[in-house]
């Protein structure tokens, strides 16, 4: 291990592709030799932005293909397989089609506000990438309030959705917008609390700091705070409008929600941003709870950003999986789940994190011994909390099992119905219930 660490520090030249920051630093230093300060910061900023855009653009195109292909496999289909090899060019064909399509706007729409959202929705979607650490020194802006920045930027996205839904002057769109806003505000609370747990425990608000804490202590946060991780995962999938929480664009209820009236590439932009947000949320889940670019020393061998992308892919697959499997919750159930289940659970673990942090710092417990004990304790506590919730908060209709009986020879109207219902034998089928 020591040798490897040595190699890590020896290299650092621009061709060390394990950390692309080396290249950028070279450029910065070169400009600083002859140019003013502000030119260097502008050029590196533009380079970072181009790097991110250059990664996101093609990745989105591939992701559309991946998502459609994986969902198709869940559904015993082939998925796109006509355009290009293995259907890989299908997203390109779709994009061309969307660009060529007519852009319709409802006559009664609020024109300015109607045209803005497809463009504005990109801003938070791209900004959020800025604070994602791809490696020890690889992030466009390593803010020391990175966690807050993440929350602030993702919070503004909902405003754009509201603008889209309101300006369309369509009832479905307005319903979608109101649902999106209500849900986004509610689910921000468990999201903030889940991240607060990490911030309290690791003592830093820098995202890279959180990853480095996990690296130092040789533990990933999902083991220490599993319930916070699950709450964050669910809250994030709610903010992303993905099943089981896609109520703001619930196809079977309100057609397409806030983007019902958007056609052509305007819809395409919404779609692309939604997909991009899914990717970035997967990346942040991987960063916060799965150790980000770090993987028990493997980051010395493999470029750290490859590790992050692999973890992101795993989380993304999980998101596709839930989407392909689960039905959608109702609006009130989703809100109830947020306030009655996720908020108390995450709040509980904020308190737990406070106590455990105090034990580690003030009481000076040895981390190598204390952390495994805390992990076991927290996992047990999480299981207990989940079981308690399942027992206490189940809605009344679900507490009785649903039964199917066989009529046998009793065929007829109400009298026969009473006779069948009064039978003592076990029903043919019994599901649910406590």
């Amino acid at each position: 291990m020591t040798d490897l660490a040595g190699i890590g520090s020896v290299l650092g030249a621009w061709y060390d592709f394990r950390d692309l920051n080396n290249l950028q630093r070279l450029i910065t230093e070169w400009i600083a030799d002859w140019g003013p300060d502000w030119l260097a910061s502008i050029i590196t900023g533009v380079l970072g932005a181009l790097g991110i855009l250059g990664v996101i653009g093609p990745t989105l195109l591939i992701l559309i293909w991946v998502e459609r292909k994986v969902i198709a496999r869940f559904q015993q289909r082939y998925g796109p397989n006509r355009v290009g090899p293995k259907g890989l060019l299908q997203p390109v064909a779709d994009a061309v089609k969307l660009i060529l399509k007519e852009q319709l706007a409802p006559r009664a729409a609020d024109k300015l506000i109607f045209f803005l959202p497809p463009v504005l929705v990109f801003i938070p979607g791209i900004l959020i990438w800025g604070v994602l650490p791809f490696g020890p020194r690889m992030s466009v802006a390593d803010l020391n309030v990175g966690v807050l920045f993440l929350l602030a930027v993702s919070g503004t996205a909902v405003l754009v959705l509201f603008m889209a839904g309101w300006a369309s002057n369509n009832k479905y769109a307005l319903f979608g917008a109101m649902r999106a806003v209500a849900m986004s505000i509610s689910y921000e609370v468990p999201m903030v609390l889940a991240l607060l747990t990490l911030v309290v425990f690791s003592g830093t608000m820098s995202i890279n700091g959180i990853v480095q804490w996990q690296q130092q202590e040789d533990v990933i946060f999902i083991l220490l705070f599993p319930l916070s991780a699950i709450a964050f995962f669910f809250a994030a999938s709610a903010e992303l409008n993905r099943t089981p929480a896609d109520i703001s664009e619930a196809e079977s209820e309100i057609v397409a929600g806030y983007h019902t009236e958007y056609s052509g590439m305007r819809f395409g932009l919404f779609y692309a941003v939604e997909l991009g947000n899914t990717l970035v949320v997967s990346a942040f889940i991987a960063t916060f709870f799965l150790g980000g670019w770090w993987l028990w020393g493997l980051d010395q061998w493999v470029p750290s950003w490859v590790i992050l992308l692999a973890k992101t892919g795993a989380v993304y697959f999980l998101l596709i999986w839930t989407r392909g499997t689960l039905p959608r919750l109702r609006v009130d159930q989703l809100m109830g789940f947020c306030w009655k289940a996720l908020v108390p659970a995450t709040l509980l673990f904020v308190v737990v994190a406070f106590v455990e942090r105090t034990l580690l710092i003030s009481e000076g417990w040895d981390t190598t011994v204390a952390l495994p004990i805390m992990a076991v304790f927290n996992i047990a506590l999480s299981l207990g909390a989940v079981m308690l919730f399942a027992r206490v908060a189940r809605p009344a209709p679900l507490r009785r099992p649903a039964r199917i009986r066989m009529a046998g020879s009793d065929i007829g109207g109400l009298n026969a119905a009473r006779e069948v219902a009064a039978r003592r034998e076990e029903p043919q089928l019994q599901v649910g219930g406590d």
């Binding site: 910061s41 609020d110 020391n144 309030v145 807050l148 920045f149 405003l159």
Partner: protein, 203 residues
């Protein structure tokens, strides 16, 4: 950062802030006004960033753009349509304008008069920690008072929101009176003519 970059950032952000603020006053549609307000808030957040106050800037976006403006939009959506738009006949507009201008002059006077030299020091790192420590250690009493005040406001809001039927009737009567005072023709007769009676023929 050199002077040029700083000036560029400052003046563009200032234009954004003041332009957005002016549009709030000018626009008739309240939803538009909220969106201009958001622009103005973002400008202020940017100004904080130029002052190296990252924490305040991010919190500004988080609270004002992400939460307060959304809350405003919600309030507007939940308000009946008549009271949604900037009214054309606010009788108190004159006095309110005078008060606002006086507050503005006072603020500017304070801003110009104060010696801001202390802030020119190097940017603080770990602002969040400093802010947190001073809130908990030095300013614990104002902090707690603020918390109690907010709780009271929350309870008060809930109490106000539970409007009962009598209040609704009073409110309706006042609106009706306003309608009656108004000289114009009742639009219901104009835009909603009685349906043509085609009798049983259509059934």
């Amino acid at each position: 950062m050199s002077d040029f970059g700083f000036h560029l950032a400052f003046w563009s952000l200032a234009a954004m802030t003041i332009g957005g603020a002016s549009m709030i006053v000018v626009s008739r549609n309240l939803i538009h006004a909220v969106i201009w307000l958001v622009l103005s808030m973002l400008g202020i957040a940017g100004l904080y960033l130029t002052l190296s106050a990252e924490f305040i800037a991010v919190v500004q976006v988080l609270i004002y753009v992400g939460a307060i403006s959304v809350l405003m939009l919600f309030a507007i959506m939940l308000t009946p349509r008549a009271e949604r738009d900037n009214s054309q006949h606010i009788k108190t507009a004159g006095p309110a304008g005078v008060v606002v201008i006086m507050v503005m002059i006072a603020t500017m006077w304070v801003a110009i008069d104060t010696d801001w030299g202390a802030v020119r020091e190097a940017a603080l790192t770990e602002q969040a920690r400093l802010i947190g420590e001073s809130l908990i250690k030095h300013y614990i009493l104002p902090f707690e008072i603020g918390a109690v005040l907010l709780t009271a406001a929350l309870v008060g809001a809930i109490a106000l929101a539970r409007q009962d039927d009598e209040d609704a009737a009073v409110h309706a009567a006042s609106l009706q009176a306003e309608l009656d005072d108004d000289g114009s023709v009742d639009p219901v007769d104009v835009v909603d003519p009685p349906l043509p009676t085609d009798g049983e023929a259509s059934t």
